[in-house]
């Protein structure tokens, strides 16, 4: 029997700050196999990948053995330089953020050629062009001479895969290769990766994605491998709690699409537009858009970054006047909503709380606009508000730096709620949260809509997550708001890469 392509035994990684990234990790990747390493952020999956590739800092302590099929030596015993020369030919590497993987000053061609140049081989231009054309890059010959910023993320990631598999490595290691891409591009990129590699070991936090593209799945939690099995087994009969949590996080039940309820309109827009001056010309951020939000419903807007959805949100919240069109709040056209009737939740919860203020002061600030309140009363009200958002155990006298990101976001929600708003607007409210916390946050928002009848207008790029709570999903592309097309309605339609 042939030895496995890569074999890791009892791998332990300790960072200089004492954090243990991997504890007794043991697994193997066989020739021709695709293996997924799945877990939450911080579980040690990237650490494991990097220790195989030799990318951890010199002061990080690594013990255990790592063997590569045709080398009869534990690579951990080699000196760094020897090791890099040895592993670079046998292990391919594909990184997370396609733009980050490219030196902005060098052409894409330079990066695709680099693995060959480093091994002292002469790259063949025609061959490279053919390889790129094969993974679906149009006009590859010209495009090789362009710089990374002139490419789209999806194309760059495919070029990274071509570069990473140039030397036909035994195993291609990929670190969250699709996390920076839209969902429909992710499948395509992972298929390309599989097709070009002899064996694949990829890291992801998305169990569903892993199941679709891997033969075997390893689930990691707090530095250890807690579950291992074929994709089908892990997906159907998860044994470990962590696997179940990841499964719940990746397979999301979309909420049923609802028509607008017959409750009063809390905010509506008709024909609003917004333009910005940019350099020489003007950029139309929002084309004429119509929209109405009713009490108690959650309206979501999804779209890629730069599509104008945040601008639309700022107009609906009254923070930015539209160039044309009208906005009404509570059925009355005016320059802005009544103070406190529309409240925001921001993307970065930590920066949305004043670090010098105790929680009670931040939370009850909206109340001080109309009333004078004593400190004791404000603390009492803050405690009530904290209870409403599920963190009643927190001390209102605490400071923001004692909170986790998720707790800080709940405090921000408490501050929004205390003003008794008719509408809450949230721009990417889960962007800085990990998968589980994000889910809990979405559940909280849904609960607030159901229990308190607060309407919500939420903007996100995460269609699946927002889809679990939104009554209606609108899509926005290049400034066009499409109110009719709910992405959940035709999720199974053929996918196309936007050019």
């Amino acid at each position: 029997m042939t030895p496995p392509a890569v074999q890791v035994e009892d791998l332990c990684v300790t960072y200089p700050n004492g954090h243990r990234g991997a504890i007794g990790v043991t697994f193997a990747v066989d020739e021709g196999e695709s293996v997924a390493l799945v877990g939450e952020s911080g579980c040690g999956k990237t650490t494991t990948l990097r220790s195989i590739q030799g990318l951890l800092g010199a002061r990080t302590r690594i013990t255990g053995t790592i063997r590569i099929a045709d080398v009869d030596v534990d690579v951990l015993t080699l000196r760094p330089r020897e090791r890099h020369l040895l592993t670079a030919r046998r292990l391919g590497y594909v990184s997370q953020d396609p733009y980050g993987a490219y030196d902005p000053l060098r052409t894409v061609g330079h990066h695709v050629r680099e693995p060959l140049l480093i091994q002292g081989r002469r790259p063949d231009a025609a061959d490279l062009t053919a390889q790129l054309t094969a993974v679906g890059i149009p006009e590859a010959a010209t495009r090789l001479g362009q710089h990374p910023h002139q490419w789209s993320g999806g194309m760059l990631q495919r070029a990274t895969i071509v570069a990473g598999t140039q030397l036909s490595p035994l195993v291609t290691l990929a670190d969250e290769p699709t996390s920076a891409l839209d969902a429909d591009l992710a499948d395509n990129v992972l298929s390309t990766l599989r097709a070009r590699s002899r064996a694949v070991l990829f890291v992801t936090h998305d169990l569903a994605l892993a199941a679709a593209h891997a033969d075997r799945i390893l689930v990691m939690h707090e530095g250890r491998i807690v579950e291992e099995g074929t994709a089908a087994t892990v997906l159907r009969q998860p044994r470990h709690d962590q696997t179940r949590l990841l499964l719940a996080a990746s397979i999301r039940a979309p909420r049923l699409v609802r028509t607008p309820p017959r409750t009063p309109t809390v905010a509506s827009a008709s024909g609003v537009t917004k333009r910005y001056r940019s350099g020489t010309g003007t950029l139309t951020a929002v084309q004429p858009a119509d929209l109405s939000i009713h009490a108690g419903e959650i309206v979501g807007v999804v779209g890629p970054s730069g599509s104008g959805k945040s601008t639309l949100l700022r107009m609906v919240s009254g923070m930015e006047p539209p160039d044309s069109g009208t906005l009404t709040w509570n059925g009355q056209a005016s320059a802005g909503p009544t103070p406190g009737s529309v409240m925001p939740i921001s993307q970065d919860p930590l920066s949305s709380l004043d670090p010098r203020w105790p929680l009670w002061r931040s939370i009850t600030e909206p109340l001080t606009v109309t009333r004078r309140l004593g400190k004791a009363e404000r603390i009492r009200l803050a405690r009530e508000a904290l209870t409403q958002v599920g963190i009643g155990h927190l001390d209102p006298l605490a400071r923001p730096r004692q909170l986790s990101v998720g707790q800080a976001q709940r405090v921000a929600i408490a501050r929004a709620l205390i003003a008794r708003p008719a509408l809450i607007v949230a721009d990417e409210p889960t962007a800085s949260l990990d998968v589980r916390t994000a889910q809990a946050m979405m559940a909280l928002l849904r609960d607030l809509a159901d229990r308190h009848g607060v309407a919500q207008f939420i903007v996100s790029h995460d269609v699946a997550l927002l889809g679990t709570i939104a009554d209606r999903l609108l899509t926005m592309t290049d400034g066009h708001l499409d109110a009719a097309a709910d992405p959940r309605a035709h999720a199974d339609a053929p996918r196309q890469e936007p050019s």
Binding site: S351, R401, S404
Partner: protein, 290 residues
């Protein structure tokens, strides 16, 4: 190369209480602080312990360091130790005054521009750009050239040339604050702009503005001493480190000890200030701002 762990642990941020705690555990900061305390003690208490810095002794010119004169005497027979101690007062006070004026001007102009917006903002920005587009030491030379040599004129010159960078920074800080979650929430809740400015924006701009102002303090001390060395600052016979070093030039061949007092003093000031400002920058995570 760093650990890729972004778990839900409490986040460390540039908050006030956290900053003080981190600073007190920063070796560079503590060292610098000790240096500053020594200097302040010398400047405040020292004059009580030494003799008259301007007393000339024609019988004891250029004597090497001895028990009576630990740092020797200069060409007029004056006690170099006494002159160094008195010189500390002038050098430190001048640096502090320049620091106070540039910081006040910088933060004031920056915050005013950001909060006022419109034409006032555009005008103040243009002023800053012109000031930043000019070499500061040369401008200081020109201003002293216009006003004439002298300590007060020198302080004025250094103050006028030193505020623009800080003003730009504070303007950016204040503008960024307006997009911060707490400010947006306060605005939408109907909190008045004045209360937002005082409660949310000013405190954070003040802290970061002060910290980044200290980054230029070492340069200020060096600039002041350099101009005094050229004879454009303190006029004789007042003791000041820069001018003392200049005076020592003539007798350097026979009396190298003249360099010790003012030289060590200057190095101690700049070292302490640099250590403190570097520590502040590291601890407050100002890297992206400086």
């Amino acid at each position: 190369m760093s650990a890729m762990t972004t778990d839900a642990a409490p986040a460390e941020r540039g908050s006030h209480a956290g900053l003080v705690h981190r600073l007190l555990h920063h070796r560079g900061f503590v060292t610098g602080l000790v240096g500053v305390l020594i200097l302040l003690t010398v400047a405040l208490v020292g004059p009580l312990l030494v003799g008259d810095p301007d007393l000339t002794r024609f019988t004891q010119q250029l004597t090497p360091p001895s028990a009576a004169f630990p740092l020797g005497t200069d060409s007029a027979g004056r006690d170099v130790m006494a002159r160094t101690v008195y010189g500390a007062r002038v050098s430190l006070l001048a640096a502090l005054v320049v620091f106070a004026i540039t910081t006040t001007l910088g933060i004031g102009v920056g915050v005013t521009a950001a909060l006022a917006g419109g034409r006032i903002d555009a005008f103040l920005c243009r002023c800053c750009d012109v000031m930043l587009g000019l070499p500061s030491l040369v401008m200081a030379l020109a201003i002293v050239g216009a006003l004439g040599p002298g300590l007060i004129n020198l302080v004025v010159a250094m103050s006028i040339t030193g505020w623009a960078g800080l003003a730009k920074l504070c303007r950016t800080l204040a503008l960024d604050c307006r997009h911060r979650g707490d400010v947006i929430a306060a605005r939408m809740a109907g909190v008045s702009p004045a209360r937002i400015a005082v409660g949310h924006i000013l405190p954070s701009v003040l802290i970061y503005g002060l910290i980044s102002a200290t980054l230029g303090l070492g340069e200020t001390v060096l600039g002041l001493a350099g101009m005094s060395f050229l004879g454009l600052g303190v006029q004789p016979p007042t003791a000041e480190w820069g001018s003392m070093l200049n005076a020592s030039r003539i007798d350097l061949a026979v009396a190298p000890w003249l360099l010790i007092g003012p030289g060590l003093g200057l190095v101690l000031v700049v070292t302490s200030v640099t250590l403190i400002s570097d520590a502040l920058r590291d601890c407050a995570d100002l890297k992206e701002l400086s």
